[in-house]
């Protein structure tokens, strides 16, 4: 076990090192002068040179790379001129909104996927075919288009859910910050009005964000359930007199869930990408919106940090999942080490 973890950690370090080189190289290729963007088009040469010096743009490339990695590791992620604040502060202020949205989207995707996959693998035929059909549609649906359709149906036509107005209706006070998640904070402070309003604002963006992870998980879990249902333990459990349905939900499902957990990284990547595509549509004040606005205003510090950060989070989550899954089920550990 310790050597297994050590090998995984070493591999991850190599990957992260290369990832940082890739993102640094892309940063260096970006057109335009970052110093010019900060001082503005009217500033004189002296001011420009001062900022260039301050940013270390006159140093050799190697020094710049180490500055970049050092800055990234110490949480010094540069200055976002379009927000007028440090990138670290901007992202920290907006992270709770994205976490709340992604959390609800993930829970929705997970519950729907488990229910649909369990039923679809229990009763193949029409139900199974329908489930397959829906996951086919889900995997082909761009989240930003689904967001548009949901807004048209539920906000513009039926008028049952709020339109693109952020996390709360503007005349409501946000609940006192405890966790940063409006729904949780509102409940903790007993503010039912804020809670239901925040929840109503969450429904559409969460569904739009959930569609791809949900379709992916349904497909994967159905396949894993069908694999697990062929196991020898199924015959043993059935011969003890357990009904087919409870064999399926109590034994087969448990065995199918663990290999599904291994692909958490894919789900996480889909949620990060989705938040970039969906937040701006709903005026959701999260990190995805900051990225899109950063792109439009050529604020490269934001773009740069976001992209490397997403890779680091992805790699670390994969490492964590590998270690945990390997700990729980040694068979999977051997499989991974062999591949």
């Amino acid at each position: 076990m310790p050597t297994y973890i050590l090998r995984q950690v070493l591999g991850v370090l190599q990957t992260l090192l290369l990832s940082s080189i890739i993102s640094f190289a892309v940063l260096r290729l970006l057109p335009g002068d970052p110093a010019r963007l900060i001082v503005g088009p009217l500033a004189g040469q002296a001011a420009l040179d001062a900022v260039r010096e301050q940013l270390g743009l006159n140093d050799p490339v190697i020094v710049q790379y180490f500055d970049y990695v050092g800055g990234f590791l110490t949480g010094n992620w540069g200055y976002s001129y379009s927000n007028g604040a440090d990138v670290t502060a901007v992202l920290a202020a907006r992270l709770p909104a994205t976490i709340e949205l992604a959390l609800y989207a993930f829970l929705f995707a997970l519950v729907v996927a488990i229910v649909v996959a369990t039923i679809a693998s229990y009763r193949r035929g029409i139900v199974g075919a329908l489930a397959k059909f829906f996951s086919l549609i889900g995997l082909g649906t761009p989240p930003f288009w689904l967001a548009l359709v949901l807004l048209l149906v539920f906000s513009v036509n039926l008028k049952v859910l709020p339109g693109p107005s952020g996390r709360l209706t503007s005349f409501l006070q946000p609940p006192p910050t405890i966790t940063g998640l409006y729904t949780v904070d509102a409940l903790l402070s007993g503010n039912v009005v804020a809670f239901s309003d925040a929840l109503a604002h969450l429904v559409l963006p969460a569904i739009a964000l959930a569609v791809i992870p949900c379709a992916f998980l349904t497909r994967l879990l159905t396949a894993n359930l069908e694999d697990a249902a062929r196991g020898a333990f199924v015959t043993v459990v059935r011969s003890k007199g357990v009904s087919r349905w409870s064999t399926h939900t109590r034994h087969v499902l448990h065995n199918a869930l663990l290999p599904t957990v291994s692909s958490s990284g894919v789900v996480l990547a889909a949620l990060i990408t989705g938040s970039v595509l969906v937040e701006e549509i709903f005026d959701w004040p999260g990190v995805g919106q900051v990225l899109v606005q950063g792109i439009q205003r050529q604020d490269f510090a934001v773009v740069q940090t976001f992209i490397l950060l997403s890779a680091v989070i992805y790699v670390l989550v994969n490492l964590l999942v590998d270690v945990v899954v390997g700990f729980v089920d040694p068979r999977l550990r051997l499989q991974r080490a062999g591949s």
Partner: protein
């Protein structure tokens, strides 16, 4: 027992054929629409303010947008853009991935280790975000967006093909080719490439839909195709501005076309996998 299972099996086989036919018919339909769009490019960009924001009718199948352009025509032009871009991306990405995979399979072990570590670190970035960064670095536009997408799909191809290339090393026909003294490049081109070709084709189909989605996403954010190009993602951005005032067709039509194209290609991928018996992981 036999009387019970037999009709089921026949049914299963027939439904597989039906899905293949459906997928091919849908794809052929899109190609026809794309060819029509190719000849209508100037009409699709003709601004006619008098006709703006017309709802769907017999004259304008999907209505008109704020500039009075026919949405149906623009969707047709957009399918050409999507099909050509994605085809180029999977062909170039697939070819580069094939080269990397063969280098891993036939080359020295250290090369394999280095290339795969590099592939892993590219795969660590969410595809859309890396494509976005590369596109911005090269300057926004349809062609640079395609280059950005190719960068992100090469490691996907390389990873899957490498496993097969490694297996080919121990196949008798490769050993035989070595024994009679064929050069490595010749073995790679004449013997290993055909061995990998079915996997390559399945992977190209599998990545096609994803590439269409990423390109639309890039254009939607504003770094891919720029307006007035009739690209689906850019058209959805356009449609968002009119959605809240009730002109639903401008954004809905291109998205619907996109979903249908991706479904058709993914359906085809499933059938190809089924036929070639390739059990690859979903990507």
């Amino acid at each position: 027992m036999t009387t019970l299972t037999r009709p089921k099996r026949v049914l299963a086989r027939r439904s597989v054929d039906g899905q293949l036919v459906l997928a091919l018919v849908m794809i052929a339909g899109f190609v026809v629409i794309a060819v029509v769009g190719l000849f209508m490019q100037t009409q699709a960009n003709t601004v006619n303010v008098a006709d703006s924001l017309q709802p769907p009718s017999a004259e304008h199948l999907f209505g008109t947008d704020a500039q009075g352009r026919s949405v149906a025509l623009r969707v047709a032009v957009g399918s050409g853009i999507a099909i050509v871009s994605a085809t180029v991306a999977v062909l170039v990405g697939g070819a580069l991935g094939l080269i990397v995979a063969i280098a891993c399979g036939l080359g020295p072990r250290w090369l394999d280790a280095v290339l795969m570590r590099l592939a892993d670190s590219v795969l660590a970035f969410p595809q859309l975000l890396l494509a976005l960064a590369v596109t911005m670095a090269l300057g926004t536009g349809l062609i640079t967006a395609n280059i950005g997408i190719i960068v992100t799909v090469v490691p996907v191809f390389a990873r899957t093909l490498r496993a097969e290339a490694l297996r080919s090393r121990n196949e008798p026909f490769v050993e035989a080719a070595r024994t009679i003294g064929l050069s490595l490049p010749r073995i790679a081109v004449r013997h290993v490439t055909p061995y990998l070709s079915t996997t390559l084709i399945v992977q190209m189909a599998a990545n096609f839909g994803n590439v269409v989605l990423i390109l639309a996403g890039l254009s939607f954010i504003g770094v891919g195709a720029q307006p007035p190009t009739a690209e689906w993602g850019a058209m959805i951005t356009d449609g968002l501005q009119n959605a809240l005032t009730g002109q639903w067709w401008i954004g809905v039509a291109p998205g619907l076309a996109l979903v249908l194209l991706v479904i058709a290609v993914n359906l085809l991928t499933d059938q190809l996998r089924h036929r070639f018996g390739a059990r690859q992981r979903m990507s």
